[in-house]
């Protein structure tokens, strides 16, 4: 659920629960994006990973 959903209420429960969810998903998503982009750059630049 996002803040622009009609069910959203600006209370502590929604902010804590969904804030925690997005925080975790954000770290996972950003971490994987970084790894994939860096791997692509390293591969194109023919740098071996060591």
């Amino acid at each position: 659920m996002f803040p622009f959903s009609f069910e959203w209420v600006w209370d502590m429960g929604h902010m804590v629960f969904h804030g925690g969810l997005w925080y975790a998903l954000g770290i996972i998503g950003l971490g994987m994006t970084y790894c994939i982009i860096k791997a692509a750059v390293d591969t194109v630049g023919k740098k071996s990973g060591h």
């Binding site: 770290i27 971490g31 791997a39 390293d42 990973g49």
Partner: protein, 439 residues
Amino acid sequence: MDSALIPRGVKRCPVWQFALGLGIVGIVLLWGVYAMLLCWFKGLNQTNMNDYYGFALWIWADLAVIALGGGAFFTGFLRYLIGKDELKNIINFAVVIGFICYSSALLILAIDVGQPLRSWFIFWHANVHSMLTEVAFCLSCYFGVLTIEYIPLILENRQINKIPFFHNLGHNMHEIMAVFAATGAFLSFFHQGSLGGVSGVLFGRPFAVREGVLIWPWTFFLFTWSAAAYGPCFTLLVTRITEVVSGKKLVKENVVQLLAKISGWMIGTYIIAKIIDTWYWAAVTAPARGFSLMDFYSGNALYGIWILIAEIVVGGVVPAAILLTNTGRRNSTARLVAITLGVIGICLNRWVMVLQTMAVPVMTFDTWQLYYPSWQEVATTILPVAYGIILVMISFRYLPIFPQETELNPIVTPDHQIEESVSDQPPLVTAQDLSPAES
């Protein structure tokens, strides 16, 4: 036939033997899948759940595998955040076991919800006053973390690792694994705790309800603590089973003993807290609601006081006593007994917190309600076990799960074969040939 996929320097059984093993376990798996399809197509009337048992065998299995899979987050926490470097030799297997446990938990939940196509409702139409919502959020996210921790292992397969992009991807994921491990520890703390919290807040169930701090009942902390304590026992137990089945020593003794010692301390401190919690509940919490201790352990055919003693003494005090002493820990038989009792103890704890809670009569006109699972429930609970065995078999055969295996089990090759193999080797081993972990 599949030798090109097997890691360098290790020996595996012939492919026919491997296929036979897969086939036997596969039959059990298919039995579980058949029962699962029955539950999906015909509905939850295939189970023996009723108005008393909304939580039944599946939820016990869920809580048990999640606790047993706690070895992944706690070993990751010790390895990446505390810096226990020796544990790098067992962390891969802990991740595989954690991945199996959490994917099994999600599979069981997918059967239990009855309408798996609506699983996304819990994210979109979230009830933010429910601890189970937090469990669903953390469980899903942590499964994502475990998948991320498992992917580099797959990328280290000999053939996949030859592809430069995958080689680099695996290396990059290893580099920032501490971030994922920290996220996993954070998520695990909350969902393990919330699973305990679900029992502790049931104020209408005097067997389960507990006092607590702020919104968290003591069971919240006890569940997290117990998962961290007993999860490594399960990792060690499955490692030992793998060693027996493969006929090889896979992890050095110092690594096993370190994890056993940490587990022993965690079990020891947990069981003290558990005894205090049980005493306070029996002496204060339950009497305040009109119950005495023996009300919960008499008047029925199954739940006697033996179950409390089995959970706390046999599954807690005894393993802690063995693992906390040098003599007990160094004796491989005593250690195996301790970790086995620990695994049984934590499963028993989850059983009483789910099923005995439902069985105990609450109202004056109530009687004990015992529950017997249907064969469909049993089959779908055995299904993840078969799936886990298959995934361990495949991972062990094709992935470098145990970094110390080659050192502990050197392959003795006749001289003429060595010469042939040397002449087959490329003249120079480049960094590209090394797995990310080796490089």
